[in-house]
Symmetry: C2
Subunit: 368 residues, 2 copies
DNA sequence: TTGAAAGCGCTAACAG
DNA sequence: CTGTTAGCGCTTTCAA
């Protein structure tokens, strides 16, 4: 028993009803703005509510209505600046509609993902936004099916199971490859991120296709998976350059990995961008403050969060099924690539690329 | 009505009881690991639970037990890398003890803080961790008193109302002043952050006292409040240097502000650290990647989160009252200060400071 | 337009 | 050791 004064007793519907001299139901109707109450009674009840400072107990309501006015948001790692941006977007929409966000960090771990989805269930959330889940479909689907509404971020899926909101990562990867190729880079390396990342696979697809189309030889031997963190970048880049010193263009899973990679390259005496052009992905706020400033792909992350929450609210009401929102990424050219000096090898070494220009405009597209 | 298959009906205690051929209470006892059930019956119930995949409904339990097995965590802005670190610490402890985190972002806004605290109440959280709240005591206390247990981060308070876990920000500020003074800086400027920030006030205290003790003249005219963001830093630094061009040491509310300030200084042609030494606060992961790498104060943020959650769990059980945890900060010396070139003015210009060394060791202290 | 009764899923407090 | 009863605060259903 706390030494503190006990918090003021909870005011219940009954208290308000007693004070207003009406029944529970009348109060309930007023609270929920439902018809069937005379305007005079309604007024009297309103006064009682104000006087007592009544607030509905969401838990009790949830028990009956099987709803808790909350939505679960699962993100891999709030510590990566990419996700907080998304959280803000989702939260702003959720709060606006009277919902509370239950946020869970799953630290890129499948077990934590399972736990989180279960916990959401226990708390009777009305819907779930799952951000880049790492679980396999077989494990993920049964978990998702237990929820009334689900939206997946950056992962395509059966629209029966969940809606999806994503960035066109294949395009993002293509933009980067194209840019590096224009600069005269010919030997591409790629730190691909966590092996189970959907986004990572899509980017790999983009790299594969775009290099093929441009006639660049691209070998998966110059590919290393890594943790999506600065440390992951340091390690993976070290390993890759040990094995494949000839790489002159290094693509990274995200900006954190790129930061680590640039650190590792510096330690090895490789200059960025003169010897090796490095690109990241996400355009976190700090990318432009790195040394050199990082060329990367800017994804409309805040909007991604908003769209996800909006779609979830729709699905919670049984609307918006089968809609798949795809947001377009944008290339941000900065100093980690523009000073690249092509060596003899380059067939069509251009060297002069436009600085600080973006190619693909933002925007969105709806499919299906 | 969703087109999806309806999620599997919820399995309740009654289902398990029926299957095991016992009463509700027996199942409840087994679920909660309570004594008073024969080992054979217990086994039978366990099997039924597994077979049916029963999970307790926390909402229903909460209604009776007035608890929802969740704790509310209110942070000003997840977008500032400082807070996610803290969130991780708190979350890890909470999850370990079977609690879920309800996270809310209050975007440095008093209204959102009020809303968040109320929402926590509506959801019957078992306790609240409030991170650097901006609300005044008169507004904050009544809100807090409605919660069973509260821990404030970075804000001292009446232990009857809430526990407190904080960094010794006065010491942090003193370490910075001392360091800058040793380098030969003599004219200090300070971007103080949001006016209502408790942490900001403590740091100001540290600056005031340390400068006085060192015999440096420090005027509040060289002080500007600012938003705790990169943009805030750009603006405030611009304004300050317009007015006070003689400043040779710029202290900033946090690392984001410092990033903005360095940007603004660069635009004005002032070199960092040669002309102006700049320091931040928090040591976010990216501070070492800035150009130049930022000298700053490293706060044990993850641990701060852990301690806050730990203390809250204690308080929720009526223990640990009156304990106030204070964590010690540490000086991280980097390139944004070490190359400072003192001009004639400095009386005891030293110039040679140890690189990459820290003065105050980490550690913690309990008072009261 | 209003109210009374029943019950959401669970647990505390007693019986047996 | 096990079961019964009552009720958490609210809403749905049906009756007045």
């Amino acid at each position: 028993m706390p030494a503190t004064d006990i918090a003021t007793e909870r005011i219940t519907l009954a208290d308000v009803a007693a004070r207003a001299g009406v029944s529970l139901m009348t109060v309930s109707r007023v609270v929920n703005d439902r018809p069937g109450v005379g305007s005079e009674t309604r007024e009297r009840v309103r006064e009682a509510i104000d006087a007592l400072g009544y607030r509905p107990n969401i838990v009790a309501r949830g028990l009956k209505a099987a709803s808790s006015r909350s939505i679960g948001l699962m993100v891999p790692d709030v510590t990566n600046p990419y996700f907080p941006e998304l959280v803000r977007g989702a939260e702003d929409v959720a709060i606006e509609h009277g919902y509370t966000l239950l946020l869970t960090n799953v630290i890129e771990d499948a077990n934590r993902e399972t736990l989180a989805l279960r916990t959401f269930e226990d708390h009777m959330v009305d819907g779930v936004i799952a951000c880049s889940p790492r679980l396999d479909n077989e494990d993920l689907y049964p978990l998702l099916k237990r929820h009334r509404a689900v939206v997946l971020v950056n992962r395509r899926t059966d629209p029966k199971i969940a809606g999806s909101v994503r960035i066109d990562h294949e395009l993002g990867a293509r933009l980067l490859v194209r840019h590096l190729h224009q600069l005269g880079c010919r030997t591409f390396g790629f730190l691909t991120g966590p092996p189970h990342s959907h986004a990572g696979r899509e980017r790999m697809l983009g790299v594969d296709r775009e290099t093929r189309e441009l006639g660049i030889e691209f070998s998966h031997a110059r590919t290393v998976p890594c943790a999506p963190t600065v440390e992951g970048g340091v390690e993976a880049a070290g390993e890759l350059f040990e094995r494949e010193p000839g790489i002159d263009a290094l693509m990274c899973f995200n900006d954190l990995v790129a930061a680590g990679a640039m650190q590792a390259l510096k330690e090895r005496g490789r200059r960025v961008p003169e010897d090796v052009a490095v690109v990241g992905y996400d355009d976190i706020v700090f990318a432009r403050m790195f040394t050199p400033a990082l060329t990367t792909i800017k994804a409309p992350t805040y909007e991604l969060g908003q769209q996800a929450a909006g779609m979830l609210l729709d699905r919670m009401q049984g609307r918006g099924h089968g809609i798949d929102i795809v947001l377009q990424p944008e290339l941000m050219v900065r100093d980690s690539t523009v000073g690249f000096q092509p060596t003899s090898g380059g067939k069509t070494a251009t060297g002069r690329a436009p600085r600080r220009s973006a190619t693909a405009a933002g925007g969105r597209r709806r499919s299906r």
